[in-house]
């Protein structure tokens, strides 16, 4: 049964949604509008001489091979981080969902990394992986493996992927665990009675039933990898060596905050914003279907 409250007139409903509208307007539409406007201009740091240049900033960006490299790098980075963070979290969640001793403590511990600030997690990884002072990094070099992420782009990428994925495992874990717990026992037990082995059960029952969770997490992880990894990457590698770990959001920061190149930086923000809008739209379509079905 559906219950619906109908308001008469416009005034009351407008008043009720006004706080939300104000918040959204003030904290989202206004700055976003500013970004769009700035992306169409060239201006000095102090904002004195603002010249409208149309889409120049965009054409310049898109014709810059370094920027295109950065786009590809970001996509690869996002997908790798998401796959790694979700894969690990799913495995851990499947194990934590079993009846094991001390699972309360085990689950709690797994959630901890989420509370660590990105810069701190970067420092932790430095302690471990720095080629000269790190716990493992040093060993690697002592054993004759040439580990030096200051110079080796592949190793640097590996490190930022690990550090970024590690931080997101907890978050994914919580959702996967909740997802697993919401799968009716009766279904899996029926499969067990039919003689399905563990892996088979997981593949044909558990995983499909987790699909909504997985899809939601995929979106969240991609967005996380694209934006929230800034602190980690900036503290670990500053985007180097070369540009080997420079993702789009790092470039926005570098151009906007360090170089005061407001026009180009805003154009990059707008491109990122479009990316997020696209991802969110896809998510809403798919998730919307799931909900109505």
């Amino acid at each position: 049964m559906e219950r619906r409250t109908v308001f008469g007139g416009w005034l009351l409903p407008m008043l009720l949604v006004l706080p939300q509208l104000l918040l959204t307007g003030f904290f989202f539409y206004w700055p976003a509008g500013q970004a769009v406007w700035s992306s169409l201009t060239i201006q000095d740091a102090f904002g004195e001489g603002v010249v409208f240049v149309g889409l120049d900033n965009f054409t310049e960006l898109l014709s810059d091979p370094l920027y295109r490299d950065s786009v590809v790098r970001t996509i690869v980075f996002c997908l790798t981080v998401s796959a790694l963070a979700m894969g690990l979290a799913l495995a851990l969640a499947v194990f934590a969902d079993k009846e094991i001793r001390g699972k309360g403590a085990y689950r709690t511990l797994l959630i901890w990394p989420y509370a660590i600030a990105p810069a701190m997690s970067a420092v932790l990884f430095l302690f471990i992986l720095d080629p000269r002072v790190g716990l493992i990094g040093r060993r690697l070099n002592q054993f004759g493996i040439d580990w030096d992420y200051h110079l080796n782009g592949g190793q640097a990428m590996l490190m930022v992927v690990l550090a970024s994925a590690w931080k997101q495992v907890s978050y994914n874990f919580i959702f996967f665990l909740a997802g697993l717990q919401s799968i009716p026992r009766a279904v899996t037990e029926a499969a067990r009675m039919d003689g399905a082995k563990t892996w088979h059960r997981f593949r044909t029952i558990t995983f499909p039933l987790l699909a909504p969770t997985t899809f939601f997490l995929l979106v969240v992880n991609v967005v996380y990898a694209a934006f929230d990894t800034f602190g980690t990457i900036n503290a670990l590698t500053h985007g180097g060596p070369g540009k080997d770990t420079e993702t789009l959001v790092l470039k926005v920061f570098r151009d906007g905050v360090i170089n005061q190149d407001i026009g180009s930086s805003s154009a990059q923000s707008v491109i990122l914003m479009l990316g997020v809008i696209a991802i969110t739209a896809v998510q809403f379509r798919f998730m919307g279907k799931k909900v109505t079905e």
């Binding site: 102090f46 001489g49 000269r132 906007g256 005061q260």
Partner: protein
Amino acid sequence: MKRRALLAGYAALAAAPYAAARAAERTKIVWWHAMTAALAEQVNRLVDEFNKSQDAVEVQAIFKGGYADTMNAAIAASRAGQAPHLVQVFEVGTGTMINAPGKFVKQVWELSKETGIALDPKNYIGAVRGYYSLPDGRMASMPFNSSTSVMWYSKDAFKKAGLDPEKPPVTWADVVKAAQAIKAKDAAEIPCTSAWFSWIQVEQFSALHNLPFASKADGFEGLDAELQFNSKAHVKHLDRLLAMAKDGAFKYTGRDNTPSQLLVSGKVGIHFDSSGSRGDLVKSAKFEWGEALLPYDAEVIKSPLNSIIGGASLWTMTGPDRKPAEYKAVAQFLAFIGKPENDAYWHQHTGYVPVTLAGFELSKKQGFYTQNLGADLPAQQLTRGSVTPNSKGLRLGRLVEIRNIVYEEVEKAFQGGQTGKQALDNAVTRGDKVLRDFQKSIKA
């Protein structure tokens, strides 16, 4: 993209002190700085001393985060008409600040003229003042905390390698030999490395050897300057380091100050870093270290010029309702900082070089250098010879980005992806584009 939204916040923050200023009789001025830990204590001490020394002006020092944050906060506040009276800006931000529209910044010469308070450029060390002056010698900002770069070396490693620990290498040829000896005897984990690679191995190298880093007197004479650090001598220097890296005599260990931790831990034989590393070495190094002048290439120059500075200077900001009394207060405070006793105290307690000639002389007289052997070496290096257009400093917009580009290209070369010449050529091409963008934004 959130710049404008942040303005409101900055405005509120900046407005608080002004409200208080109206209540008190003393003229209050606000100073935003970027000094942390022991350095912040020295800033506060300086401010306290000034506030105690007279009763017309009260300075309030506010920590605003790192250099880039502080500068951005000041720019954002300016845009909102709420700039602090004084702001500490790092040397690479000089290009942006000096090109700031006149209604946002009051340059030192202008301040001195308007308030009648003498702030004489002649009192300041040439290589320091030059960095912050207009081409005709008028000072734009007030020198404050300046450092330069020097060569640090481990006397332990030198002994182990059979080198004379009291005779540090003087030329680059000596450095190569010493590093190879250290490598051969395995006297240090890293025979030779450099912090601040762009600053020391490219910018300082240019100054020392009287080579232009950029045209138009390193940018002092026009926004249309073009980078020139891909000359034969520059390429030769990078090739030398690349060749050393191939033999394991040199190691590239990261950007900016990332390599500095290696110096303090005693893993490096010969290390290039800021003169400001002294404090950390005195406090934490468990090995015998030495300090030496930056080496030079004897085939390029017979006697090297002065090195250039790093660090920051103080800029006087303006605002819509700022009164003459406030500017006067700022000028008084700047004059106070430049007094020999204050400059000497600051120098001796922070590890920065003295910025005034009198402060340097006073430190000598006080016997600071006999108690701290070698502590006068950075100042010596800055004051030797006479400053040329190539050793005055750099006046380039977005210099931080140019440094980043140098890092990126040099890293590619150390990875073996390109030659030294390709690296510097690419860095120059990419850097020139950054300069042209900056030029466009200023003309806008």
